[in-house]
Amino acid sequence: MLYFREHQWLVVQGASIFRATIEPEMRQRQEVHWSLDMHFRACGPVWRRVRHWERPELHLMVGHFKWPMKSWTDLEHLNFWDPMAEDMPDASHRSGMLDIFYYPRCGDNGQQNPGVGHFGWRVATRERGWFTVELAGMTDSRSALELLEGRKIPVLPDGREERRDPDLAFWKKHAQVYLIENIPFGQVTVKVPHNVRDPEAYAVGRARQLIGVNEPEHIEVTDFNQWEKCTPYLRNQVYVELHFNGFYET
């Protein structure tokens, strides 16, 4: 579920996935580009007479986060709830870059990062290929942990502190955007050298080597050499998309 402004929201399946991109020069696991896309659309009975493409949408993209992973299943350990507290020189960048686009109405250009300054996110659990993602975006520069530390903590009669996870009312009050949603490990894009004889086998092998995937559920190959109209940048490029949660056509 997502809390943002006054609407109720449904997560848009297919578009909301963890993605990985593997470039030809990547040799080590930590070089893989990871990103998280989440799309939401306004829902609820008040919207039933508005076509879905004319309803408000919110797109959140967390790009280029870094986490020591041996396998895609290690996404379940992601925790950037308080990136500033980690003692790494580039800790503030490891949680990735959050881009939020709010489209109040169809045809609008959208508002980028509407009122969101700092953000924290983590994965709470994993069930097979699905990860429960929690994300809070603040209106100012305070991190989620700072907010949590500012809360009053009840003390029990025996002197112990009664620490509880904050409830939804807490996040509705303090966060501009707060969500907890199940998101699948969805897609790996492998850029394949154009002289490879079997791009599919090559891509699966690379993805297996770098992020420990099993066989995908679907594969799409795009060979720009065979495209009549193609920008010079893409000429000689072969992209192989490995889909692990059905097939979402981008």
Partner: protein, 256 residues
Amino acid sequence: MSWVQLNGETWPVTPDGAQLEFYVQAQDVGCPRVQWRLDLTQRVEAAEPLPNQPNCESLLAVEITDMPLPGCDWRKLANLEIRADTAWQATNEFIGPYGHSHNLPKVDANHMVFPAHAKSPDNTGCHYLAHDFILRFGQRDGLVLPCEIDAWVIPINEYYRTLPETPAEAAKFSDGPPNLRIITRAQFIGGSLDMVRCGTDPLPSARQQVRELLGCEEFFRPTYGWWLRSNPAHKEILPMKPGWRSTVHFFTTETE
């Protein structure tokens, strides 16, 4: 046998019947897996057939789609009543597994009058939608369920708007008598299943899922196809090789 009343006009009773079909999404999706669909086409024969014209004067095609199945047994539809009010709609809206469809069960009714039989060129029918409806199933008889639909339909050109309703508007169930009433018999005819990869023959797994998710032992005339994809030049759509994802279709009877 099927009886229809639309906008106060009672149609002749016809031998038509509704069809009930199921769609089972693949195991790895993030939306409800089982949806059912009710589909009725009621045809009115022309009282005076015209040369070189279809013998059908008008028809009403009604469907209710994306309905959830209570429990794991299609037979639980027997004696079920669904009142599609705001509370029910709030719990039954979902986006399809690949983001292409945004589903809220509605009654979709398309009234068509064949031009040769139209009283005027403007009177060739109307397409309606209803979000407020009541659906009642009766006692099951084999694969057949009697059913009644009461719907408050709105012409489609008035139905859609660009601004949401107010909460007060949305909370109110339609007043007055329904302007679409149907009494018919619905036959469970079969369905389709999207299958995750499960070897080169998806039928045993599909049969098992039909049993587990629909409580249905009738699995006849099954066919399947491998999912499609573009070729690397994106100029052709071709099926994947055996062993990839597939869609299985089945019927509940051995013959048509």
